[in-house]
Symmetry: D2
Subunit: 348 residues, 4 copies
């Protein structure tokens, strides 16, 4: 396999740093380009930004001279870690110039001709890409991954789509790393719960419907299930926990549901993509698991953990799910999307 | 008003200490007796137990010589802060011996002739007491208050009973103080979420139905609404947060629901009981409130705070509620129950 | 006693909010004026700023129309809660215009003719004020209180000055509330220690020498003791902990030191000033106290708690001290300074 | 290299679990035996104990049938993770029966013929072993590693011994994982600092002197430096932070000290032992590092990180150090001791 050069738009921010770390030692992708604001352009990364993550800035990345956010010299495959306030125009400009933009930003997620992909859940939605190129007269393309809490919920629900999901009520307990840097003020969250995260509930509700839906007539056709989200920030570092009650049209028993979860497998596993976890969804039988600090980082942070499957007195079943928000919920999600696209021949 | 002497069963434990603190300076009740295990009996409180709460042990309480858990010299009104493993027999023995046992323990809560009271919500359930005395041939009686998370939910729901509650899905984020001492190991909860609290979901589901229900034919008649609880421990000190989605038979609008909450008032407020908060349920209009660290302790920890009332795409409305688990959810709940009973003449 | 109108410079910031809360219900001082930047001027406080502290904005304060930071209509006594970046010029302008500026800002603390006061420790340093007025041709004056961690250390050391303090090594564990709002990013401090707080060590070293020193020839004459500080941020909400090893010229025994701490009393106590704690320094005999969450807020947050007095194998004695950083270390410190000044007739 | 079978005494406890995890995939040592109390003996580990660490119990270890704590069938090399309350007699029994006991327990650390080893600091102290065997008529032997906070301090000081260490004052901020399981109650430590850890200060003072000392006449001869420790628990998961002021007889400059730290290397590095970090002490130049959450786990948790080297106004220099308490401070320390012993031919 040849090495594919990749770039990161928004490479100096915290999400960009998660990409840099996740791409270290990647067998297919080699990071050679970082785009950022004019303020950073022309500086080496190590001079342009402090490292916010564990440990130290990877030395090779630190030597990359940051570019401005123009397509000019960027490699064909570009990950977007840009802030939503600037992503719309720049991502479009790159796609128009022939780049494959694999974006973690929310800006294009809900557009009907933009695939919103979780590779284990809806890889077939990549079929929107030719439509997108035609609609927009782009030689490149934009592919997106969902919001960090949505990834956890949709991966836990993916094995259950077969039972006919009709209604979902979910409540989240989200880590501070999900808010970027500086993100949440410590005065707001130390020993506290904040019962509000801007736009998060709407994203979780809409994105879940799109991901679990289908493609019809060259458009994303959201699942008709009703989804309600309650989102909360809690004082933990990494790992989003989602608790959910679900109603199914086919009224499966608890054993059927558990068995569906335990046997679930996806395209990334079948194709043995480099960042694919061995099992995408891992069911834990201990009564007090999964837990974000003990479980979210396992399997390189790429699996989602589910536990406490039981009957719900109001809907049908309830359970708790947990996943790593900055890996499976962001950088790792985008990289796995790119790996899926490579495996589909989209980069040939 | 004359002073009423009171005792505390389980007076050396952490819940007992919350009672001691809450009763300090009480205008009606004077703490004169503490019952505990034989191991502590005969010692002054200050020699029998370390003080686990903020500040120092109240000096007067520290001088009380702890008794064994026998009715003998105890005052007529006794609060029970006993561990569930021992409460059943001892509470019955006290009731049989003529004592009024106002218990925070879970042991008798679900018995059909034992009132499970939140004074603002179901004061009329005290009418079970003559039945209880008759059934059990007791000269005394047992009255209970609910589990700490149930108090928060039922107070938030009380103003909404008029709309015909049919289904409730609730998720909690509970403080470590709710687990007593030593309670939750710090290795389990620092920077973590534990998605399980033993028996908590069952308690929340059943107790809510009983409290919001009625008394029929001398028995508690639980509300026929379906209730589903998801319970979680989070790394905060005090204050339980409950997020809920609710379905009503009468389909009220958001404004009707908010108006019902804001105008809600109860018997403790009407009678100006000493521990009654001015308003039992306080609606907060800020988009990110209530929060446990900033709100639970307001109004002496006796009010419940509700916020973020909005439409639920799955049921009808959703909101978040927060209250102080060791005050409104335990010691303060029991003391307010006793005040209600005094105001009903039950101690005359 | 007549009521004295007071204002707050920097009234919309987080330190300003601590002043607003501390002044609520003050028996001598009535808050009537708030100064802030031009951006806030002309708005009611409730429209100019969100409330960051527990509970809700005091209603009366919320109705005050914010002024710009000009002396014009401000009352004679003004507390300064301004950010250090702007305090120098504005405080001088107010003092020149005849105002008594009682400042929590660091800007003027180390000037030799500006009193840096802890009322229990060095009230006599107010004698610098006539010199200051002469030096600067001011009809008003500036009085300062120390940095939040310095207050804790100097109050613990004040009873020990009599033994001849020669060397002090202190290490701090400081709460996030000491950094203002938004202050420390939660990604930096949740489940972490940050071993650096900008300028804090220098402030603690120099301010301690000035406060424990004397006034000679109309100038502050710092104590010649050597002081070394190690400052750290830890993930707690309120309360700074300071651990210290001290060397004395007179080599007192542990009992002498403890007895000096326990019998310590100051001018605010003798004069029964409204915000004075009953005892300024409270010695705790429990082996694991004081603790910030359990102790810092006691005595209205105005006392300093000391414990674990024992021999130091390197210097003479060591101990741990703890106090409330936003009350005794900031707003309460300044208000007590103002009360001391009133009691000295400086506002007549 | 042949594989060496190893056992763990105290294999069901939390420290034992750290050993199990650390030994996973070890190139020299293969875990085949676990000793524990009679209560666990005869059960498979997975049935005898819950897994307290991140992730799940390693499957192979889970299948080991736990033995009682008798030498009988144990392998020659045994790690001791036993609680101090039982370690003394059992460790001696194993050493008498010919076993090489590499102990993390405190019980034998301070005996003059028992090596207390940090392999990078005092490998030559292994020369006590023949004396120990002679003194005690043992065919086996006991080797110990220090307390978790002592490891961090002594590794930071080791490069500085050449300057003549005369006095050290250290203050620690220690993680909850250092207290085992259930260890610290969450009610004591969430949003709090506990300024006391039983016996910790004495251990840190004495063990530091022994480790930095020499062997004279077949006995450990402690360094004559005076050491004073202040120990505190803070609400973090892993990683002990130690801040220190040090006085040297040779009065080196800051650059000399930093250069000594940066060039420091030890026997484990020279011999390339499997668990040796590339550099034992890593100096960080950022002004706010090292930090426990961001640094302690780097280099597999086996390095100690030092930063903020600067002049101390009281002694000569001060700095902050940080290391992983359950790895470099416990299980990893013992395993590296065993590797050192293998490299010395002590297991031949």
């Amino acid at each position: 396999m040849r090495t594919i050069e990749v770039g990161i738009l928004g490479g100096t921010g915290m999400v960009g740093q998660h990409f840099i770390r996740f791409l270290q030692g990647h067998p297919w992708f080699k990071l050679t380009w970082l785009g950022a604001s004019d303020r950073s352009a022309g500086k080496k990364l190590k001079d342009a930004a402090g490292w916010r993550l564990e440990g130290e800035m990877p030395a090779a990345a630190g030597e990359i001279v940051v570019s401005d956010s123009k397509p000019r010299n960027a490699p064909r495959l570009v990950f977007s870690a840009m802030d939503a306030s600037v992503a719309t125009e720049i991502e479009r400009e790159f796609a128009a110039a022939g780049h494959i933009v694999v974006s973690n930003s929310r800006n294009h997620r809900m557009e009907p001709d933009v695939p919103l992909i979780v590779p284990e859940v809806n890889p077939s939605h990549l079929s929107l890409l030719p439509v997108q190129q035609r609609n927009r007269h782009w030689s490149g393309m934009i592919v997106t991954n969902p919001n960090c809490s949505t990834v956890v919920l949709t991966m836990a629900l993916a094995p259950l789509v077969q039972f006919g999901i009709e209604r979902v009520i979910a409540a989240t307990m989200q880590a501070v790393s999900g808010a970027g840097y500086p993100g949440v003020a410590s005065m707001d969250i130390v020993a506290n719960v904040i019962p509000f995260i801007g736009s998060e509930e709407e994203k979780m509700q809409q994105e879940t419907q799109k991901i679990l839906g289908s493609v019809e007539n060259g458009q994303a056709a959201p699942l008709k299930a009703r989804v309600s989200a309650h989102c909360h920030r809690v004082p933990i570092v990494d790992g989003h926990t989602v608790t959910a009650s679900v109603e199914f049209s086919s009224r499966p028993g608890i054993e059927d549901v558990q068995s569906a979860i335990e046997s679930f497998c996806g395209v990334p596993q079948q194709r043995d993509l480099p960042s694919a976890p061995r099992k995408p969804v891992i069911y834990m039988r201990e009564q007090d698991r999964p837990q974000p600090r003990r479980d979210a980082g396992r399997e390189n942070g790429m699996a989602v953990f589910v536990g406490r499957l039981r009957e719900c007195p109001v809907l049908n079943v309830k359970f708790v799910a947990c996943g790593h928000n900055t890996i499976r919920g962001a950088a790792g999600a985008a990289v796995l999307n790119a790996e899926l696209m490579v495996s589909e021949g989209l980069l040939d």
